[in-house]
Each structure stands twice: as structure tokens, then as C-alpha cells.
Symmetry: C2
Subunit: 827 residues, 2 copies
């Protein structure tokens, strides 16, 4: 009997598969039959119609192909990106126009300068809050979690898409130091999810979960790719930022979609007559023959190291602001009530400070993000030994020139102000990223170093005759890559920089700076995205640190939970009830018996709850009552044969009464289906029953007890027949790898089939954070102390194993000579 | 008793760990004690010595860090790469000098032109053959296999390193169309392995297996990176070529080491006064403001598609040549005898054809690979409407000009000749790669298309006033990336191209062409490396194809082997013997009992063989003989108490005789340790025994039978307590993922703890190749027919499961009411 459920499940699944297959065949059969019929049809447009049907058939069969999906996704995202950019440009132009038109009155100018972003940001925050609060923030941390296999609710819906796109456009249109690249990763994933849902109307393949995750990974690449028109950097950045283990077979998907998307994005610009042909977004024109001198490399290394510290500081500052606002309960309560006040206040502060006739004049506040970047990457030198006459500061570069101040002071002010402004602005609850602001700050820092170098060595460092002056723009490129790499903990910002500038001549300085920045930043702080993951407490596994040897020495046995909740194959419903009441794990282990502890599978909590509610639920109760009524009737009919009419009436009365009683006794039907609620309510009901029902109650209690004592029937219960198993000696390093590879939530620790422990994400996270944060020179890993206790417990294990083997011995054929002989041998 | 071995193993492991830990502490304790002692020492240089010891301690503790290892690796590889390049350049110069010096006599010139490469290639082939045959070929296929977890013997030794470096230098110095990039991946891995071995003298961390694999992955990146001075492209190329799943946490390792290596490699060139500063290897100077017109994109797409076909053809041709030579037994036998004849013949043929005054004049045969690439990437146009006067063909470009022939004809001849030459040359058994020759052919093809376009549109395509002439050099870049991408099935050749040329302006055309080339090539042929893997029959899992839906429909139950070889916990040695004789699997499943089939673990074949040989081996036999002798003695002493001296003599005689007999009976001691050899020899020995020993033989046979009937004692036998388990419904897609993620060799298929099948690499490979090669529109996956039979067999499974549950029922407390009730419920 116990075996039936597996058979039934297996048979059911097979029948289901066969049914599906047949229906598929039938459907295709139907189609071909219509085709045949059409061919016999002698109408005028028969041929036409045959052709149409064939084309349709062909198209539908092709829709399932990946590349169609990727092309559609790329196209869609390029359009979205272009439209968003277009709207942002219009918004910014409008602000400039307002500001420029009111130049007669400074106060009106200020009002216009400040009101515009406040209104936009407030609208963006309010709109997102109302439509879909999930659209707030960057989106990369959430995508990282989703790609790990965690399901975040409401995160990939159409509502979120609308909220994110409109919210982002407004937020960026305000001119705040915010970026579009994180949100675009989210938007691309939303597009992919919606497109996938849409395409599943045509073919069944879109419903496959692992395929969806592959497509989401490609979508992340598209998001970055079409945002910067950087297909290669986009793919690499998205891999670094969202994946732990990357399937190389998905590589082409990302490249394909991102290239197509970047291509369309740039073609739109050409068609719109913005550009003559497809070139880089922030094209630079550094000289190619001698991009930099070898002796400049130390300066580039300094940029890298300083950017590393700066990046860590940025992440820390960002987290500090969030935590400060959360901790200050008074502020928090006030802000919670007036949710739009915080964005408005922050925007007011930032835009006041950047007001060009005010403080903004000292920090090039007039320039938008894009304009500042273009000027910073300029290949001319701004400061030439104090004499600036040969540099005419045309166009936007004029903003950097201040009659009273040096360019250096402007740059330092720009860096310092933008630094905290960006850290503050990214905490506003609107859809926004931090990549672009950080990128600009990095470029400014690089420019600062570059200008200093140019001032220090006006004729360049090279001493062999030819004068190659220093190019501060190259330093800006290096600084931008280094700082953004440090904040996001990625190396691929280097590639993004090359694609953005269209020049790869500074590859070595950029790579050196980015690697140094990463080395410094990674040893000080988590990446910005990991920091947000921690703040938001998303279920994610932290990375193993660099070169921490402990991870090889910690074993699963040091971190596992030994007290595993399990159910046995022959347990009764009472055990089930007790286990469900005490533990909180999502899944429970199924073992052969409490003595052998051989792991057979794992069952989800919900499944067990439904088993329990089936056993004690409404239908069972009804059945029992009906049975009892029938028995009563029988008894009555036996007793009152003479007055059968009267007896019949009494019986029916009793049944009616029972039915009335039942209604109260069972509580509301909805609550019956969760076992705990049911259990408490049913026991509760027993007490509040009216006295007249006492006998009946006792019977019911008795019935319940009897039901609970029955052995559990695992029919119709989904069992995971092969949960993931580890060995007690598996190292933390390997456990981490397996967990992140397979996206596990928990794994059982077994020893020769016997369940001895369980490791869940929680234990693993604790262990890693323990080993990562403690940095002293330790000979013993922090958790190794458990191992000594493990030795003693292993004896217990061994005695328990003895039982298992002894049980075996008794089951096997009696060979009394064996143990003694093997004893002798082992001696 | 049965439980003991687990306890013992566990306890042993723990004691071992404790011992290691203690010894580590003691060692560090020793060190600090010397330090303390030194501090109390009042000598003159005591402080100095303290300082030295401290520094030494610090350095040794740092040696374990990854970054030191990576820096050393990068440095070493840069030096190797530079020295190899230097030697190759000298070799090529020598050839040119010889050829140039003999210009009086064409025949002597020919002799010099031909003899030089023949001697070099023959030496290279002979040297490699003698020192380390593993050094032959590219090395990337083997590294791919090693990174998957397969151990290839003798593949990472110092001998191989020497053979590879010297062989490669000679092979490339000959001027044959061979590349250095594949071998450099291998050389870098060799360096990493040797360095790791060397560094393990300082710290124990280098012995960790998973760390070694991480370092090998980084080494592959270094190999490509320092070969092309392309750190980013190197990392990406090595990932694409060697990994299936890539751990993003290893990313920085690759970047770090490859950047450092590329930096040193280029700095060496600067120090050697070859270059003024660090720039790209094959620097191009295309115009930046208008790199290409949008309307040129179709031409780039055509290059991509044609390169896809070309790449597939190259792989096919290469395989065809190898297979042809293998199949022609007469040739094969002859070549096997004279191993150096084949390389010599091929070299003779190729160098004859490239002889500049001969056929070489029509195909720029004078130029080395590097020179041709430089000329092909030239940013001037060669053919301007037939009038070539404004292009003066200076320097090497002169080789492309022929008085009678058009440039187009020269290019076509170059492409066609080099194509088959490269395919042929890469089959020579010397260390060589195919990337660079393919790259040059691709560049030539791109140049051809570019020149044609330039001839067709002499004033460029752009119609809006400004004339932007077409840049054929840009087409060459695109062609090079596309063809090498098609042959290797990688997208990252695009990045390599940018790093090699130092210009990224053609990013979109390159990406489009590379992706199209990949799409075409991947649907026609495996990559060159996969093709070599198949030819060499290395243990590797093929990739799942693009968008084949079947992979989601095939289940493990369709492909698994149902007849699993297993041993039970209570089996006797005879069963062990039988199982070992029949099967050939490397590991055997250990189940609880044949009835329950609950999987407990897996044991390696070698372990079982040693168990068996322990049971029937020499020490046991000696012991038995001694015992028997003692018993005999006792018997004799009981029988012959009166003549005890005589009896003692007889006994000792008998023992001596036995000992003499034993020597023959046991065969050579070496053969005893493999069980099969032992078994056959022992049974054989029983028959050839002399007649006088018959009684003794019978006793021995009896003893052997008794030994075989004993129950197996699993003490001291290493059991894998948690082998990987799958469920019967796992899809092929997921199985493939898990196998390649975890580098599995086989996995057991279980259902609620019960073993029902096994899947090994072989089955998986068959299934994938079945589903990948068959391309028809199938509603049923090719293997689904098994599923119907699976349904019937599942009933058998179910009945077997019944037994398991029944057994349980009988073991649990007797509750006779339960089965009937549950029967009622389920009805």
C-alpha cells in the first residue's frame, strides 16, 4: 500500500505526458487535415490560402527559436532606451529654456531651477509608489537574486514596467545625479519576462523555467548594452554583476541581443540626424601614436588606488544614509507619513546647491551629467602652467572656468559635492542607478590628476627629443573606469569605457587602475549592489572573499544543524502534527525509520499540511457523521421496529441537529485547509460546544484521536525523491560553489545514506560572513572548535550506525561465524 | 561490526586533521620560539637577524596569497612569450638572410628556402616526439578536458614544458602557417602547475585541488593574454574556449594575471627599444570621425556569413586530412615507421609553393605571417579603379603587387593557398595552433571584400556632400575577427581584434560579422577544438545545440542504464568477485540489500579489488598455512607423544615443504595486488600443482571457498557516502548542466532512496549527439520511444517498491487495522 503513491505519481506523470504528446499530435494532425482539405478546395484563392496557412505554420514553428526572441528583445529595448533618452533630453532642454528665459530676475530663475526637478522627482516617487513600489531603485540587486533562483513576487509584471520606465524618465529628466543603467537592467528583464509570456501563446517552450532564467541573463546584458551602446561591456558587466556561475553557452545570447540592441539604438540616432554615422557615445580623439608614456603609469596606479578607497567610501556613505534615516525613528515616522517629502527635500537641497548663479558657479553646476562627461573627456589641456589663453573654453567647457577660481579648485569642489550628492540622491525612492554619477565623479577625479600632471610636466615626461604633452583626458577615462569599477566591484567597466569613448589606446592604464581599484575596494566594502542586497535583506549568498584560506578548512560538519526535523515512513498523523507545530523549515526530510535514519526524500511543509487537513478535514468529518448517522439509524431501526415511523422521525431529527452542530463545529470552511489553524480551531470548538452536545463532542474527540493515530498515507503527496546531499567532510568552499551553482536553499548531510544534518542558506551565510569578516592570522578557522565536539558526537553516530548494521545482520541470513572472524581480521 | 569502518574512517580523518593542525601549530610555535630566542640573544647583528626572520615569516605567510602566485605567473609567461617571440624573429631573419644572400643562383636560393623550414620542423617533431609526445598540437582541447576535472597523465610536467617551448619556437621559426596561441595556453597551464608545485613547498594551500583548477583557468587567460598583449580578449577567449560554466569569482584572477603579463610583455619591447611606448601589436590608423557608413553594413554582414562557411570548411578540411591519413593503412604504416617523414614532406610541399621566385610571387609568399598581417591591416587602399600610381607600395606592401597580376588575383590566390596550407600544416605533429593562420586568412578575405568595395564605390557610399572613401583595412579587421571566430566558435575574437589593432571604431561591424559567422559555423561544424577532442577521443561532454527543444523533453529515465551493478551491505566476497569479473565500471553502487535497493554510497572498483586481494592475498595465506602447521604440529604432538623428536622433525619438514610450495602457488608477488590477475593465477595454479600436493591443494581450494563465502568487511574501504543522485524525471538539459557544472562522471538515478538506474557520460553523450544531429521536425524526441517501455517497467519498479514498504510494515509495530483502512480511503 505504501508503495502506491510513487507508482501513482509516476504513472500519472507518464499518462499526462502521453496525453500532452497525443494532443500535440492531434493538433498538428488537425492542422495538416485543414491543409489537405484546403488543397482539395477548388475556390479561387485556394492557392493563396494554402500559402498563407503554410507561412503561418512556418512562422509559428520559428517563433520558438531563441534568436527571434532575442531580436525582438533587442529591438524593443533599443526603442525604449532611445525614447527614454529622447524624453530626458527634452526635459533637460525645457529646464534650460526656463532657466535661460528668466535671466532678468535671479529669484525667478532660482525658483524655476529648483521647482522643476522637485516636481519631477516628487511625481516620479509618487507615481512609482502608487503603481508599483517594486520599481524603486536600481534593480540589479533584485535581478541578481532572481537569477539565483529566488522568486520575487510582483517583480516582473507589466505594472512594474510602466512604473519603472515613466519613473526613470522623470527622475533623470530632473537633472539629479542619477543613472539609467541599473534600472535598464531591470527594464530589460521586465521586457524579457513580458515578451516570454506573450510568446508562450505560440509555443510551449517559453514555459520552461531554466530557459526563462537564461533569457533573463541575456536581458540583463541587453539592458546595459543598449544603455551605453556598449555590447561587449554590457554583456561582461551584466555577467559580473548578476551571476555567480555563468554558463558559457548563454554567452552568445547576450552578445547577440546586446549587439543588435546597441546597433538599433545608434541607428535611431543616425536616422534622427543626431549623428552622421554610428560612432561611440562619448567619442574621444586622443592621439594614437603615443597615447601615454611608461613613466606616467605610477600616476595611473595612484588613480586606481585612490578610486578604490573612494569607491568603498561611496558604498559606505550610501549605506550610512539609508541606515541613519531608518534608525531615526522620529524622522522615519514623519517621512513614512509624508512619503513624498523626503525626495522633495533631497532634490531641493541638491538643486539649490547646483544653482549656477549661486554655489553652482564654483562646481560647473550648469552642466548636465552628459555635458560634464563630454567636457571631462576632452583631449585638450585646461591648465597650462597657469596660462590658459591658448585654451579658449569653447562651448560647455566654459562652465569649468571661473574668473576668480583656478580650474583645480572647481574640479575639487565638483568632486566633493557630487560625491555626497550622488550618494544621497541614490537613496531617493525613485527608479535610479548610481553608475553614471559615479562614472562622472571618477572622470573628474582623473581629470584633476591629469591636469596636475600636465601642470607639473608641461612638456611631457618623455625625454628622447620628441615632446609628447600629457593628455589629461586620458586620465579622466582611467579615473572613470576605476571609480565605477570600485563601486560595482567589476573589471568590465574598462571595456565599457573603451566602447563609450571609441578609443582603446589607454587599455593598459585603464586595466591597471581598474584592477587596483577593485583590489582595494573589495577588501574594504561589499559592492554597491551587495550592500543594497544586505540593506533590503534579500535572500542571497555572499561571495567568498579573496584568498581566505579558512574556507578550505571549514567543513560542513562544522556548520550543519544536527537536530534535523524529519518524518519517518511509518509515522502516524500525530507525529506529523507535532513536527509541523515545532519546526519552521520549508521542507522536511523523509527517513526510512528513526533507527536507521536512511534519507529517502524530502517533502514540502505545505504538502504535509494538506495531508493533515485531508485526514482531519471536512469531507472526512462529513463521512464520519454520515456513517455514525447510518449506524444510529440502524440501531434505532433495530430498537424501534414497532414504531418505525416515530423512530425514523427521531433519526432524521438527530441528523438535522448534527448538521446544524457541524456548521459551528467546523468553523469557517476556508480555515480548514491550513492544518495549524484547523487544529487549534477544532480543539477550541470542542470546548465551547454546548453542554447538550457533550456526548457527541466526546465521540468527535475520540474520532480525532483515532484519526491522528492512523499511519500516514503518503498517496498524492509530492516527494522530492533525490534531495541534494553533502558529506560531512565537504569543505565550505565546495559547499558554497554547489549552493550557488545549483541555486540550492538547503542540503542534507548524509553519511552512507544516513541523515546526520542539514545545511541551509542561513548557516552557510553565517559561516561565510564569519570567515570573511574576521581577518586576523588564525591557525584555526573560527568554526573549527566545533570539530572537537564533533569527534565525540561521531561516537554516538557510530553507535547509531551500529544499530543500522545490526538490524541488517539480523535481517540477513544467520552466519554466526562472520562477526568473530572479521573481528579477528581487523585486529 | 559493520558500522566500524565509517567510524574508523571518520575518526581517522579527524585525527589526521587534528595532527596536521597540531603540527602546523608546533611549526609556527617553533618559529616563534626561535624568534624569542633570537631576541634574547645579545649578538651584534641580533636585531638584523630578528628583522630577517620576521621578514621571512611575513613573506612565507604572504606566498600563499593568490596575487603573488598570479604576478609570478604573469611575469614568467611574459618572459617566456617575449623570449619565444625573440627567437622566432631571429629564426625568420636568418632564413631571410640566407635567401637574400644567395640571390645569384635561384636553385641555391630554393634549396636554402626549403631546407631551412624542413630541418626546423623535423627537429621540432623529433624533439617533441622523444621528450614528451603530449606537447604535440594546440593544447586547448586538452586544457578544456582538464578543466572539466579529467586527469590527463603526464600532461602538466616539466618535460612537457621544455618540449613545448622549444618545439614551438622551432616550428614557428620555420615560417610555416602555424600559430602560437593554442600552445601558449598549454604553456601557461604548465607554468601554473609547476609554479604551484614549487610554491607548495612553502604553504599547504597549493595542494587543494579546486584551487589548482581555478589557477589553471587563470593560466589559460594569461596564455592568450601575453601572446597577443590582449588582456581582456585573452580572458574572454580562454573562458569561451575552455569552460562550460565559469565562476565569476575567478574573473579577477584572469584579468589580474593577464594584464600584468601583457604589461610586462609590452614593457620588454619598450626596453628592447623596439617601441617607443606601450601600444598595440598591430596598430591601425583608421580615421575616427567617420569609420564606416551605415550602408556598408551589408558588406560586413556578407563577410560574416562567408567567414562562417569558411570556418566550418576549415574545421572539416582539417578533420578530413587527419582521418584520411589515419584510414589509409599503407600510408599510415609507412608514416608510423618514419615518423619524421610526414612533417618533412608537408613542410617541403608548403615551402616549395611559397618560394618567392616561384609560385610564391603570386601569393605574397615572401612575407612572414606578421608582415602579411601588418600589410593587410594597412589603412590605405590598394586598388583605386585600376590606377595604382598614388599608392606606392612601400615596404612589405610591395609583395602584394605583381607586374602581370591584379591585386585581387593575388589576394584570391593567397586566400585559397593559405587556406588548405594552414589546414594541412596544423596536422603536423609539432606544438602549434591554428588561430593566427586563420586570422591572417580572414584578414586577407576582408581586405579582398574591402578592395572590391573601394573599387566599386571610389568616392564612398555617403551621399551627403563630404566624401568619405571606403577603408579596406577596416574590412580586413572585420574579416580577421569573423573567420577566427567561426573556426573557434568564439565571440571574443572581436575583443582580441580591438586590442591587437588598438582601435575600437569598427566595433559594430566586427560584432555583427562575428555573430553571423558564429551562427553559421556553429550550425555546420563543431569548433576546431571540439573537433580535435573528438578526433583524439578525449573524455568530454558535447555542448547542447542552439534552441533544440528536444533537450527539454528527454528525461533521464529515457537514457539511463537500468541494469546497475551493485553490491549489498551484507554480500560475501564471492559476490564481490562475480561483480568485479562481469562489469567494467569504475565505481559500483553500494545498496542496503537487493530487496530494498536503498542507495548507501558508491565504492571505487580499485577499493573492492584491494578488499578482495586482502581477503585472498599473501598474508592471509601465510597465516592460514602457519595455523594449519601449528594445528598439524599439535595433532602430531598429540599422536606421537612417545617419539616427540621425530614428530617435530616431520612437522618442520612439512612446513618447509609448504613454504616451498607456496612460492610457486602464489605466483609472482606483484601480480597479487590486482584481484583479477590474482584470481586467475591462483585457480590456474591449483591445476598445475604436482600430484603429490593433491591433498594440500584440496585443502587450499576449500580454504579459498571458505574465504569467498565470508561476508565482506568494509573496514578500511573508502566509500563515497553521498554519490550524486538524479530523479528519473530530470530533463536532459538539467542533467547536462549538472554534469558539466560538477564535472561528474556518472550519477545514480534514485527514486525515494531506491536505486533504479545509472547515467554515465557515455549515455549522456549518446543522447545529446542523438538529439543534436537529428534535425528533422519531430514531435516526439528521438528517445521518447523508450518511455513507453518505461511505463511497463515502472510497474515492476512499483512491485519492488511494494516489497520495500511491506518489509517496513512488518518491521513497524503491528497495526492490523491500518492497511485495510488506508485501502478504504484510497478507494
Amino acid at each position: 500500500m505504501y508503495g502506491r503513491y510513487t507508482q501513482e505519481l509516476g504513472v500519472y506523470a507518464k499518462e499526462e505526458a502521453a496525453r500532452l504528446r497525443e494532443s500535440g499530435q492531434r493538433r498538428s494532425g488537425d492542422r495538416s487535415r485543414t491543409l489537405d482539405l484546403l488543397e482539395y478546395d477548388k475556390g479561387r484563392c485556394a492557392k493563396c490560402r494554402i500559402c498563407t496557412v503554410r507561412c503561418q505554420k512556418f512562422l509559428i514553428s520559428r517563433v520558438g527559436e531563441d534568436w527571434i526572441f532575442l531580436i525582438l528583445l533587442g529591438l524593443l529595448m533599443a526603442l525604449v532606451s532611445w525614447v527614454v533618452d529622447f524624453c530626458i533630453a527634452i526635459c533637460l532642454q525645457a529646464q534650460k529654456w526656463m532657466y535661460g528665459g528668466l535671466d532678468s530676475n535671479v529669484f525667478l530663475q532660482y525658483l524655476a531651477w529648483v521647482t522643476y526637478p522637485v516636481v519631477l522627482i516628487t511625481f516620479s516617487a509618487g507615481f512609482t509608489q502608487i503603481l508599483a513600489p517594486q520599481a524603486v531603485g536600481s534593480g540589479i540587486p533584485e535581478m541578481k537574486t532572481i537569477l539565483r533562483g529566488v522568486v520575487l513576487k510582483e517583480y516582473l509584471t507589466f505594472k512594474t514596467f510602466v512604473a519603472k520606465v515613466i519613473g526613470l524618465t522623470c527622475a533623470l529628466g530632473s537633472g539629479m545625479p542619477l543613472g539609467k543603467e541599473g534600472p535598464f537592467v531591470h527594464i530589460a528583464s521586465l521586457c524579457a519576462a513580458l515578451l516570454s509570456k506573450f510568446m508562450s501563446l505560440f509555443g510551449g517552450i517559453y514555459e520552461n523555467e531554466s530557459r526563462n532564467i537564461e533569457m533573463l541573463a541575456a536581458a540583463c546584458a541587453v539592458g546595459v548594452g543598449c544603455c551605453f551602446a556598449a555590447p561587449i561591456g554590457g554583456v561582461l558587466f551584466s555577467i559580473e554583476v548578476t551571476s555567480t556561475f555563468f554558463a558559457v553557452r548563454n554567452y552568445w545570447r547576450g552578445f547577440f541581443a546586446a549587439t543588435f540592441s546597441a546597433f538599433i539604438f545608434r541607428v535611431l540616432a543616425v536616422w534622427n540626424r543626431d549623428e552622421e554615422t554610428i560612432t561611440a557615445l562619448f567619442k574621444t580623439r586622443f592621439r594614437l601614436d603615443f597615447p601615454f608614456d611608461l613613466q606616467e603609469l605610477p600616476a595611473f596606479a595612484v588613480i586606481g588606488i585612490a578610486s578604490g578607497f573612494g569607491g568603498a567610501l561611496f558604498v559606505y556613505l550610501n549605506r550610512l544614509i539609508v541606515q541613519f534615516i531608518r534608525k531615526q525613528k522620529a524622522i522615519n515616522r514623519f517621512l513614512m507619513k509624508k512619503r513624498l517629502l523626503y525626495p522633495a527635500l533631497v532634490t531641493l537641497l541638491i538643486s539649490t546647491l547646483t544653482f549656477p548663479p549661486g554655489f553652482g558657479q564654483f562646481m560647473a553646476g550648469k552642466l548636465t551629467q552628459k555635458e560634464s562627461l563630454v567636457t571631462l573627456l576632452d583631449n585638450r589641456t585646461w591648465a597650462k602652467q597657469g596660462i590658459a589663453e591658448d585654451f579658449d573654453y569653447i562651448g560647455h567647457s566654459q562652465a569649468w572656468k571661473h574668473p576668480q577660481l583656478n580650474v583645480f579648485v572647481t574640479l575639487v569642489l565638483f568632486i566633493v559635492m557630487k560625491f555626497w550628492m550622488s550618494a544621497l540622491a541614490t537613496t531617493i525612492p525613485v527608479p535610479c542607478g548610481a553608475f553614471m554619477p559615479v562614472f562622472v565623479i571618477g572622470a573628474a577625479f582623473g581629470r584633476l590628476v591629469g591636469e596636475s600632471m600636465a601642470a607639473w610636466f608641461p612638456d611631457g615626461i618623455h625625454t628622447d627629443g620628441t615632446i609628447y604633452p600629457i593628455v589629461p583626458g586620458g586620465y579622466a577615462v582611467v579615473g572613470a573606469a576605476a571609480l565605477s569599477g570600485a563601486v560595482t566591484h567589476t573589471v568590465s567597466t574598462a571595456v565599457i569605457v573603451f566602447e563609450l569613448t571609441g578609443q582603446i589606446s589607454h587599455i593598459l592604464p585603464v586595466m591597471i587602475a581598474v584592477i587596483l581599484a577593485n583590489a582595494v575596494a573589495q577588501s574594504l566594502q561589499p559592492s554597491l549592489y551587495d550592500s543594497i542586497i544586505r540593506i533590503k535583506k534579500l535572500p542571497y549568498l555572499p561571495e567568498l572573499g579573496w584568498g581566505h584560506h579558512e574556507k578550505y578548512n571549514i567543513r560542513v560538519e562544522d556548520i550543519m544543524v544536527r537536530d534535523v526535523r524529519y518524518i519517518t515512513l511509518n509515522c502516524c498523523y500525530r507525529d506529523l502534527h507535532n513536527v509541523l507545530l515545532t519546526g519552521h523549515l520549508k521542507t522536511l526530510a523523509l527517513v526510512e525509520s528513526a533507527e536507521s535514519m536512511i534519507l529517502l526524500g524530502s517533502i514540502e511543509r505545505a504538502q504535509l499540511q494538506s495531508l493533515l487537513s485531508q485526514q482531519l478535514g471536512r469531507p472526512k468529518r462529513l463521512e464520519y457523521i454520515r456513517e455514525r448517522a447510518a449506524a444510529e439509524k440502524k440501531r434505532l431501526s433495530v430498537v424501534s421496529i414497532p414504531g418505525s415511523e416515530d423512530g425514523g422521525q427521531r433519526a432524521s431529527q438527530e441528523v438535522r441537529f448534527q448538521v446544524r452542530g457541524r456548521c459551528r463545529w467546523m468553523g469557517t470552511p476556508g480555515s480548514l485547509y491550513t492544518a495549524e489553524a484547523f487544529l487549534s480551531s477544532s480543539f477550541f470548538c470542542l470546548h465551547i460546544f454546548s453542554d447538550s452536545q457533550n456526548l457527541c463532542d466526546l465521540q468527535i474527540a475520540e474520532w480525532e484521536e483515532k484519526q491522528l493515530d492512523e499511519q500516514v498515507n503518503f498517496n498524492n503527496c509530492k516527494i522530492d525523491p533525490a534531495p541534494f546531499q553533502l558529506v560531512e567532510r565537504t569543505s565550505l568552499h565546495k559547499t558554497h560553489t554547489i549552493f550557488s551553482l545549483l541555486g540550492l536553499d538547503h542540503a542534507y548531510v548524509t553519511s552512507i545514506g544516513r541523515l546526520i544534518g542539514v545545511v541551509s542558506l542561513k548557516e552557510l551565510r553565517k559561516a561565510i560572513e564569519g570567515s570573511v569578516t574576521v581577518k586576523g592570522v588564525k591557525v584555526r578557522p573560527p568554526l573549527a572548535s566545533f570539530r572537537d565536539s564533533g569527534t565525540s558526537s561521531s561516537e554516538n553516530e557510530a553507535t547509531e550506525l551500529h544499530k543500522l548494521w545490526d538490524r541488517h545482520k539480523s535481517m540477513s541470513l544467520p552466519r554466526e561465524h562472520t562477526p568473530s572472524e572479521s573481528d579477528e581480521k581487523s585486529q
